[in-house]
């Protein structure tokens, strides 16, 4: 059993996208170290409900680090102080007794705040709808060995595909750029023969959508790959640049 800790929690409260937000401060007492960060917020919300106050709104779903639904900018890091993990995988034992923990929503023009810590990430869905798929062409099923894929490409495609679309890259980026996300989604298909026929169209369409939705321009600071809970590499951004430039030069 970990020991219990007490700390000060500063949480961003905001009633809607256009409302002015502010920080609320809470004193948390005797929280066990093996409480997850989201469970700690659950405990706080229980207290708030009992006191007749409004609970804090935050996103969460699987709480297993795979769905990409949780967010939270904790003490200056998207998904908190751990590397390669989402907020739901952060445990209170990472913090010390007497700490002040500041919790903010993702801040970016592309992700407006819905309420408190919850932001609207449907921009990512729109980017995916712009071309992040392989069009279905039905026909006779292929023999499994008919399309050979080098192991290295398969691995890199798999690494790119591990992106869960949580938006930490945008939250970490000083330019509010979604390049790491878009590049991972372009790469996971561009690396495989099944994705090649539409590769040029996909890179152009997804990037155009990203620009249209008000995300910034990448300046290669690498904050995104440092904060990504799935450790997506910026080599994917180089690949997206390559795909995009090639497609434009061909036009």
């Amino acid at each position: 059993m970990d020991k219990n800790i007490s700390f000060t929690l500063k949480v961003w409260r905001q009633n809607g996208p256009k409302e002015k937000g502010h920080f609320d401060t809470f004193q948390m007492k005797d929280i066990p170290g093996d409480t997850s960060f989201l469970e700690m917020l659950d405990i706080l919300n229980e207290q708030l409900i009992e006191e007749g106050k409004e609970p804090i709104v935050f996103d969460h779903d699987c709480r297993e680090g795979i769905c990409g639904m949780c967010s939270l900018y904790i003490n200056g890091h998207p998904h908190g102080p751990a590397t390669g993990a989402t907020t739901c995988q952060i445990y209170m034992r990472r913090f010390n007794d007497g700490d002040t923990i500041t919790v903010e929503p993702w801040r970016s023009a592309g992700f407006p705040v819905i309420k408190d810590l919850m932001v609207d990430r449907s921009a990512y869905d729109k980017i995916m709808q712009a071309g992040g798929y392989v069009s279905v062409r039905t026909g006779a099923p292929q023999d499994a060995n008919a399309i050979l894929i080098p192991k290295q490409n398969a691995d890199e495609a798999m690494d790119a595909a591990s992106c869960i679309g949580c938006g930490a890259c945008v939250a970490a980026c000083k330019n509010g750029s979604a390049m790491l996300f878009v590049s991972a989604k372009v790469s996971q298909l561009a690396l495989l023969p099944q994705g090649r026929p539409e590769a040029a169209r996909r890179a152009k369409a997804m990037l155009a959508k990203m620009d249209e939705l008000g995300f910034g321009n990448c300046t290669n600071t690498r904050a995104c790959e440092a904060e990504c809970p799935k450790n997506i590499s910026i080599s994917n951004i180089a690949r997206l640049n390559r795909e995009f430039i090639k497609a434009k030069l061909k036009d």
């Binding site: 023009a109 000083k174 290669n220 690498r222 640049n241």
Partner: protein, 225 residues
């Protein structure tokens, strides 16, 4: 036009103009080194460049590169600030792998421009500009006597310090700019990223040292002679 209305296109403009400017710096640095070996040879280079038509064409092209690079820099920064949203984080922490230079390219660039203005007043105005307008004695010496201008400028400690600060800002700007340009052009992956970073660091250090050594040697020359 994709070079202005797509984010990657805009970055391509930054990286292509940036690489061209790095090549210019390399040329300028090599030219300066000549002054260390022979002042007469350096003045011959100055004469060769001067206000001849090819030098003027190159100067106009170079100025265009600078202007495009700078206009795009401000434009991109403005767009990126808007994309960041109106609300700023209360607490921020820089991840370990993020270079300081990469987040301050605009500031470093502005320092480089300020240094450039001083540099124009110290040298260009008295040399190429003097030749263009035909007034050969805007400065104390003739327009092709570059070595004399170097010697007189760097005998003053103030200029030595300002030029060295300028070069340090340039070094930071180049160390990020070099690999970043190639990343933007898509010529990078997990292996080449490390290679470009190393090549970029070595290259920028050599270029900046090449400039600095002329400043420092001329300063010490002025002390003992």
């Amino acid at each position: 036009m994709w070079l202005s209305n797509s984010s990657i296109g805009r970055k391509v403009v930054m990286s292509v103009t940036g690489i061209a400017l790095v090549l210019f710096l390399t040329f300028h640095m090599s030219m300066n080194l000549v002054a260390l070996f022979s002042e007469d040879a350096y003045n011959m280079v100055c004469e060769f460049l001067g206000a001849n038509w090819y030098a003027l064409v190159a100067t106009v092209a170079l100025a265009a590169l600078f202007v495009i690079h700078i206009i795009y820099a401000f434009w991109l920064t403005m767009m990126n600030r808007n994309a960041r949203g109106s609300e700023r984080y209360a607490v921020t922490q820089k991840p370990k792998n993020v270079e300081w230079a990469s987040q301050n390219m605009l500031v470093l660039g502005i320092i480089v421009i300020l240094g450039l203005i001083l540099h124009f007043a110290n040298f260009w105005y008295k040399m190429q500009f003097a030749e263009i307008i035909g007034d050969h004695f805007l400065g104390e010496y003739g327009p092709t006597n570059g070595a004399a201008y170097i010697a007189s400028t760097f005998s003053q400690p103030v200029y030595v310090i300002v030029y060295l600060i300028w070069l340090i800002a340039l070094w930071f700007h180049l160390t990020h700019g070099f690999w970043s340009a190639l990343q933007t052009l898509g010529w990078s992956n997990k292996i080449w990223f490390e290679r470009w970073k190393l090549i970029g660091n070595v290259y920028s250090t050599l270029v900046v040292l090449g400039f600095a050594v002329v400043v420092v040697i001329y300063f010490f020359k002025s002390l003992c002679c």
